[in-house]
Amino acid sequence: MTTTAQSIEKDLADLWKQGPEENVKGAGLQKVYTTNLVAYASGHDEGYRVEQILNDLAEDHPGRYILIRPAADPTEPALRHYVSGHCFFEEGREKRICCDLVKLVAQKDVIENLYGFTFSLLLPDLPVEFWWPGDLPYNNVFFDKMAEESNRVWVDSSKFKEPIKSIARLSAFWDKRYHPTLLEDLNWVRLKRWRALIAELFDGVWAKYLGHIRQVTIEYGEGSQPTRSFLLACWLAAQLGWKYTGPRFSSYPNQLEFESPEGPVQVLLKPVPVPDPSLDRIFAIGLVTDGVEPGIFTVVRDEDPHCVVVRSEISHKLAFSRTVTFEHLHTNELLHVGLKHLEPDPVWKKTLAFAGTLLEKPDLTQTR
């Protein structure tokens, strides 16, 4: 059967008439949509992974999900579709809560022009989130059009093959090219808890030490690109008003020199041996302050893999220590955290702009 917007809507309607799962006796069904989420997967395996993540997300963010992936074989039809429902029982309620997933599998040349068709499948009056889980594309019409028309685009800078170039490009042209669409980075969402832990070290009476930070050490897993550590350093610099006047980087440096209003600040990005080098993880952060009361502020992963220890010492005396839970967040959990809030994140914007000033200028002729 030819895939048209009408045929998809009809299949969805049929699906809900018969019930998407085995019939549960006596249970009503309630369709709930809070968002539109369009995801692109670059291949079959990624498509499978992305579909799993969408299924996990559906319970927390029921919505119209559209997954697009290229056909594995050029002999396959130009465009195929599959519809499925996702239902769950909400605690204490007899009704099933349901939402739906439309999967589009198309030849690559068809995908390029599939944006209009994709828009026709979106539900009106709900935000449109566009998730691009892989490497940042260059000159990709589908990405460009979706980014122009969505409310927000989710990328993951930990998946960028050339993170320096990609971050520099995003910093340089996102707003010029796609305004008012918001850009979000799942890698930035990963940093949120590290940021919160560092921030809490400087609450209240400890805030006065912020101006005295002279050295920051960020330990990350050896063998991985320290994108996250670099973004964390840029966040500290941007929020604390540190200036960078050194040369621009074409690869991640081990050391960054900043000038704060009160004096120089050195930031070290230090690789440490890890069992799994594919994971770009931060292991410890230390901030050293000078002045009459020198201090050391640390956030370190605990022996208990589910906890981190947040600690400060002032004048060689323990000032504060707190152990808190710290679970690794998977992609579905990162998206879950991100999708909860619709408002722009000015701190991310500021950090990205700051990062752009440290990185080699991108070749903007490559961006249409």
Binding site: P62, G92, A199, D203, G204, T323, V324, V347
Partner: protein, 511 residues
């Protein structure tokens, strides 16, 4: 709201937890009691896990029990483990590192001198910056002792940091005692330092009443006497009096539920739009509603107020005793365990619209909701399956299954023009990933932040008592008419409550 913490610490910007309160010490009176272990400490732990507890935070528990710091902490830990079974020792030790316990009499000046020293030490060693919150989780009989001793020890002064007092309900047991308590507490603390807690206001869905009314423009034009037939506010419980017989015998359902929870919910439904979302603007509007309650006609009180008490019955198939058979209850008790009130508000908006409030114990299920029933269309054009058309009802479910339902008529598919009632349902749980926070979590955080919006002001407490006094007085000085107990456990309350509704189309909702 931009908090002082954010202004001082730019690293807080953009974190969703930027509502972080300043450093402080929390002093809990009655710390060995149930509320501390079951509600307050779990709420603090949730705040801790969400990074919403200030970095410099101390908890000092005070009560008469002679136990050590370690025993105090151990009790709290055991209780917390019931709700947080994964709680590790490292996490608990870190969370409770600045928890302390003091045994002492509430009327003993030495207790307060010792407390003053401990608080000063906390400021010095733990950076709590002279900020103090005193939480009275004791029986109300000792409120005055605690308050006057805090004053005498200079602990209410705000010379170093803030000093706040949180007073648990019941705030007085009648109008006179509420006035007296207000006077007493105001001798020592100023109104901006006083946080009278009603945990209902900390519930997410109660706060959503404000958002629903004042962040949507579609409700306002129909939110008045021209469109609303009546409003029903129900808080039902399937539980009996349980172990609270001592308290309940002297309070009853009116003091336990109406003067505070139900009146507060009614205020949020009925109040005029405040000029701002701040403590005084909202509380001013609530106060106007409480003052507009038409005085109950005590000569024909049965038309306005119905009391009930549960007798033996069945709940979920199991036989349960009547109130008078419960342990600690006087076998001849006339304490009401059920009440229904018909209230008229003498305002332009609500003139002639009854607000029907009911609450009871040992009803078939636990549910709290507000139902706004609209008037029927003036001319019925269509046939319906059964009887006439049903009026539109907007239901705000407060607990459990928080959400909003709109009941409306729709066409039955087919050749004829028949109408049938359907529900359009919004459920909090299914639309928002975020679980709703516990009421105490929100209220403790607000108190630490100095936001009194969700707390009751002294004049509100007095106005609520004032409105209720005619019913309380008559019920406590006269024997109930007819058979008492007058409803079976497991039923929806006494039949007399139905007669109070006046109009044939007004019926108590089956929840």
């Amino acid at each position: 709201m931009v908090t002082p913490v954010l202004l001082e610490n730019p690293l807080r910007q953009g974190l969703f937890s930027d509502r972080v309160p300043p450093p402080c010490s929390l002093v809990i009176y009655g710390a060995s009691g149930d509320l501390t272990a079951r509600k307050l400490v779990p709420a603090l732990f949730d705040l801790y896990q969400k990074h919403l507890l200030p970095t410099s935070f101390s908890l000092i528990g005070i009560s008469r029990s002679k136990i050590s710091d370690d025993e105090f902490k151990q009790r709290l830990k055991e209780s917390l483990k019931k709700t947080e079974p994964q709680l590790s020792d490292a996490l608990w030790n870190s969370f409770s590192q600045n928890f302390h316990y003091m045994a002492g009499g509430y009327d003993d000046a030495k207790t307060y001198q010792a407390l003053s020293k401990v608080l000063d030490d906390m400021d010095k060693d733990n950076g709590t910056a002279g900020n103090r919150i005193y939480y009275l989780s004791t029986p109300p009989e000792v409120f005055e002792d605690i308050i006057s001793n805090l004053g005498a020890a200079g602990l209410s002064k705000e010379d170093k940091g803030f000093s706040r007092i949180v007073i648990e309900k019941p705030f007085g047991r009648d109008l006179d005692s509420a006035k007296e308590l207000n006077l007493k507490v105001r001798e020592v603390f100023q109104e901006h330092q006083i946080y009278r807690i009603d945990h209902y206001l900390g519930k997410e869905t109660v706060q959503n009443l404000l958002v629903m009314r004042f962040a949507n423009s579609i409700f306002e034009p129909i939110w008045d006497r021209r469109h609303v037939d009546h409003v029903q506010i129900t808080a039902s419980e399937e539980l009996g009096v349980g172990s609270r017989a001592g308290y309940y015998e002297s309070s009853g359902i009116l003091r336990d539920m109406f003067q505070n929870h139900l009146f507060q919910v009614m205020c949020l439904i009925a109040m005029e739009p405040p000029v701002a979302y701040d403590a005084d603007a909202i509380r001013n509007e609530k106060l106007k509603i409480l003052k507009s309650i038409r005085p109950f006609d005590t000569h024909a009180l049965d038309n306005w107020a119905v009391r009930g008490q549960y007798g033996p019955g069945y709940l979920e198939g199991a036989k349960v005793p009547g109130y008078r058979q419960e342990e600690g209850v006087n076998p001849k008790s006339i304490t009401p365990t059920y009440a229904a009130l018909k209230i008229f508000l003498d305002t332009w908006r609500w003139h002639g619209v009854p607000f029907l409030l009911r609450s009871g114990k040992r009803l078939p299920k636990r549910a709290t909701e507000v139902a706004i029933q609209f008037k029927e269309p003036p001319n019925l054009l269509f046939k319906t399956n059964v009887g006439g058309l049903s009026p539109n009802v907007l239901v705000v479910r407060i607990q459990p299954d928080e959400g909003i339902t709109l009941k409306f008529e729709t066409k039955v598919p087919g050749m004829s023009m028949e109408a049938r009632t359907v529900n359009m349902d919004f459920s909090y749980g299914s639309s928002f990933a975020e679980g709703t926070s516990e009421a105490y979590e929100r209220l403790l955080l607000d108190c630490m932040l100095g936001d009194a919006t969700l707390f009751i002001r002294g004049d509100e407490a007095e106005a609520a008592w004032g409105a209720l006094m005619p019913v309380l007085t008559q019920w406590e000085t006269t024997e109930p008419a007819g058979d008492f107990p007058n409803y079976e456990a497991g039923s929806w309350g006494p039949v007399a409550a139905d007669r109070m509704l006046e109009k044939p189309w007004r019926k108590w909702r089956r929840l």
